[in-house]
Amino acid sequence: MPRSRSIAFKLILVFTLCSALIFSVILGYNYYQSRMMLEKELEGNARNLAMSLVNRVETVLASVGRVTEEMAFFLEIGKYGERELLALLRGTVERNGHIYGSVAAFEPDVFCVATRLYAPYFHKGKGGILLTHLERSHSYLFRDWYQIPRELEKPEWSEPYIDQEKGNILMTSYSVPFFENRDGKRRLRGVVASDVSLSALTELVSSIKVLKTGYCTLSSRNGTILTHPVKKLIMNETFFTIAEARNDAGLREIGRKMIRGGSGFVPFKTLTGVKSWLYYAPIPSTGWTLSVMFPEAELLENVRTLSMTVAVMGLVGILLLAVVVVILARSITTPLHALAAATEVIAAGNFEVNLPPVRSHDEVGILSDAFLVMKESLKDHMKRLTETTVAKERIESELKIAHDIQMGILPKIFPPFPDREEFDIYALIEPAREVGGDFYDFFQIDDTHLCFVIADVSGKGVPASLFMAVTKTLIKATARKGITPDKILCQVNDELSSDNETCMFVSIFCGILDTSNGELLYANGGHNLPLLVQPGSGVSFFPKGGGLVVGAMEGSVYRCDRMLLAPGESLFLYTDGVTEAMNLRDEQFSEARLAQELTALRGRPLQEMVKVIMGNIRNFAGDAPQSDDITMLLVQYRGDNSNHFLAASP
């Protein structure tokens, strides 16, 4: 889904697709479950239907069986002549509606020596019960109805047959052998058989309607079809010939189960190719099989119709949902579009645009409200910003001027005393802001005395710069011929600490170098210890000692120390902005690193030394902002020797 599509499009797509998917899953599941339930139910229904039919068929066949067996029993134990026998047979046919005809057939020479064979047959015919003597037309001995029970010595239902003489009636016979006991031996006397017309039974089976086009069939022990809606199949086909014609091994297997008296419920394709379910069950007395065919399509018709209706309803529902989503999406996107248009106008700087009216109090309403508030706030803010900017610009301009002034009061020209060979001096200041609290200064008190100062005022910015200017002026005013650095600091301290309401103070290192002999007098008012750079032996910090910071307490006393500089030796003075310069990892530049750098730079020109250290501090700090003013002052004593005079004299 492209990201640039509208919310409405995305909503419709997501909503309809999701609902269609959910709906399809539910519908499919419902169909599947209904089908399962139906099939489960069907098996029960099929069994019930088949069993009730089986019972009805069985009742008829069993009654015939019972009557025939009773006749056989009588023929076995009773005493009877031809008259009694004929009466028995006639009576049986007369009194049993299901029996078409009955015969008592005897083994050769058993009943009547004259005819050898004897088989009187009473059967229903035109005009009542007729008697036929079967032995007169053919030998019955090798007919199935006689021979099979004779060989098996047990009652047997014959394979159904079509009796053409009786008008193409489908018949079956129940034959019961009867015996006599003579000399302790059981000997067959004959077979009594009853013919049953199957027309009533097949009509009963055919008349059962199964759904719309389903049907019941009856098949024999050989699998021969006895009833079927397709009349041509009756007595012509068996399940096995059909299986062979269809090359259907599964059907043959079903047929084999049937003839073995099995029952089952299986999917089945009818001869006309209709997908069906087949339930089959045996008819106990004859070993025949009753099958019930349920066309699957009809079975599932209601489920299908229901599913189709639900599907149509669902489709309409989804379409309605899509329409609702469109309307909903519009109600959201229309004010959003208006807001977007208004925003563009606002972005162009026009705060006088009218925002769309807030109609609802939903998220879009809240957003519109917020927009309105934002617009007003922006408007105010812009106004204030304009004013602030003007004020800030003014202050910045003033600070710039202040910076220039501050820098202007520091000696900036190097070398400052080009005509003096016995010493050299170089200084550098880098304020952290426009104006700073550090300063340095140097001036000659007389021809042979150079006073130099480095100081760091507490705090930063404008107050510090003003305090610095005062301090610098005070020091310059105090330094007179013959004064020592400690006296300078005492006097400046007294001046600064009286009426010092801001409680500001300053650390000062002040030194006076006798340029004629290298004697250095110095006093330290709480300032970082300077370093002595000796070309021969290296770099060392001044010994510790000194007084309190200047301006903090009135009446502070400072000590004056003395040191003799050899020619070529230098003093390196600095403020804490140098050693405490930080990099991004919060590491300090440190005094040790400073001493190391200076050691490496020994003997180089002063300006180069200072600039290289400054460069190294910048490199060390990297992108970390400068937090404090950085000030360095380097004073070198070169010695007052004859060369001075030689050089000085023109």
């Binding site: 001995l141 090798f142 007919r143 199935d144 021979q147 099979i148 060989e151 098996l152 047997e156 014959s158 394979e159 079509i162 053409q164 193409n168 022990r221 050989n222 699998g223 007595m235 012509n236 086909e237 068996t238 399940f239 096995f240 010939t241 059909i242 062979e244 014609a245 043959r252 047929g255 084999r256 049937m258 003839i259």
Partner: protein, 328 residues
């Protein structure tokens, strides 16, 4: 080739005795043929030749008389109620030996199609296993090949007369049944018994090669109408070949006759029968040999009949096949 030679010889004889062929062709000669049984694919060739006008093409207006349990083909032929009959070689040979003037004009089935079928579950695996068992046998000449088989293996079986159905066997009333490969065997299979559940003894595989169906004529008819005999033989064989080449159409025709005769008609069963007839009529696949009665087969059958005291002497092959008449 010999079968055809014989037909040619018969034709040559006819040429001498009868008016020219054109005159015969113009006027159809009436003739009747009785079959061994009711309509089925065992007789497809004759019904197809009749239905497709092949007999008419050969100048014959043929009437087919279906056989059946109530109607003996041999009796019909002997008594002159039919001009031609389809008979087993054993029947015809015995009739000839007994003085009836039966002449073979074409031998249709070359091999014995008879078999004994038993359930494997009854423990019958070899011919010796049949000893003492109940075996279903058909009456008359159908019993001759099985008897020869029992004799060969020295078997004493309880012979049970077998009816036209195989139900006695299916119900377990007998241990083994007689069956025709093209008919009862397939019926047993299509009553739900699988081939692997059966032990079968093909009599032809046990040295009992009894050629079965053949077309016969009385010698006196042959003398009068030699051309007719040749034409019926030729037309019948042509009908058979047509049936093998167009089995679908042949089955339609046969089933039509079966329905007409109101006998149960099962197409797949008739299809099996027609295919087996092809196997039995053309065992080598050589169509040139079709219709010929081999002297060796004839003499082998004669030998068995003599051994079983069914004939005293074996009639002359040339007389039996009509070659003697052609040579006269």
């Amino acid at each position: 080739m010999k079968g055809f030679l014989r037909i040619c010889a018969l034709t040559a004889l006819a040429m001498l005795l009868l008016p020219p062929v054109s005159a015969v062709a113009a006027k159809l000669e009436k003739a009747s043929l009785i079959l061994l049984w009711s309509p089925q694919a065992q007789f497809a060739g004759y019904y197809i030749a009749l239905d497709k006008g092949i007999y008419r093409k050969h100048g014959i207006d043929l009437t087919i008389i279906p056989g059946g349990p109530e109607r003996s083909a041999a009796d019909h032929l002997r008594q002159g109620e039919a001009d031609f009959a389809v008979l087993w070689l054993t029947t015809a040979l015995q009739q000839r030996a007994a003085g009836a003037g039966f002449v073979n004009v074409a031998q249709i089935i070359q091999k014995s199609s008879m078999m004994l079928v038993a359930r494997k579950s009854s423990g019958i695996k070899t011919p010796a296993d049949l000893n003492g068992r109940a075996v279903g046998l058909w009456g008359g000449d159908f019993a001759i090949p099985p008897h020869a088989f029992f004799k060969k293996y020295g078997l004493r079986v309880r012979e049970v007369p077998q009816s036209y159905t195989v139900n006695l066997f299916l119900r377990g009333g007998i241990d083994a049944a007689s069956a025709m490969w093209y008919n009862e065997y397939h019926t047993i299979l299509n009553s739900g018994i699988n081939p692997d559940e059966l032990t079968i003894f093909f009599l032809k595989d046990h040295g009992q090669s009894f050629p079965e169906d053949g077309i016969y004529i009385l010698d006196k008819t042959l003398r009068k109408k030699p051309l007719l005999a040749a034409a019926v033989a030729r037309a019948s064989l042509e009908g058979w070949l047509y049936a093998f080449d167009h089995p679908g159409e042949a089955l339609d025709i046969v089933i039509g006759y079966m329905e007409q005769a109101k006998v149960p008609a099962n197409r797949i069963h008739q299809k099996w029968m027609l295919e087996r007839m092809c196997d039995l009529m053309l065992p080598t696949g050589n169509r040139q040999e079709m219709g010929r009665l081999k002297r060796a087969d004839y003499e082998a059958v004669g030998q068995v009949l003599r051994e079983n005291l069914l004939v005293r002497s074996i009639p002359d092959y040339a007389v039996f096949t009509g070659e003697a008449y052609a040579a006269q």
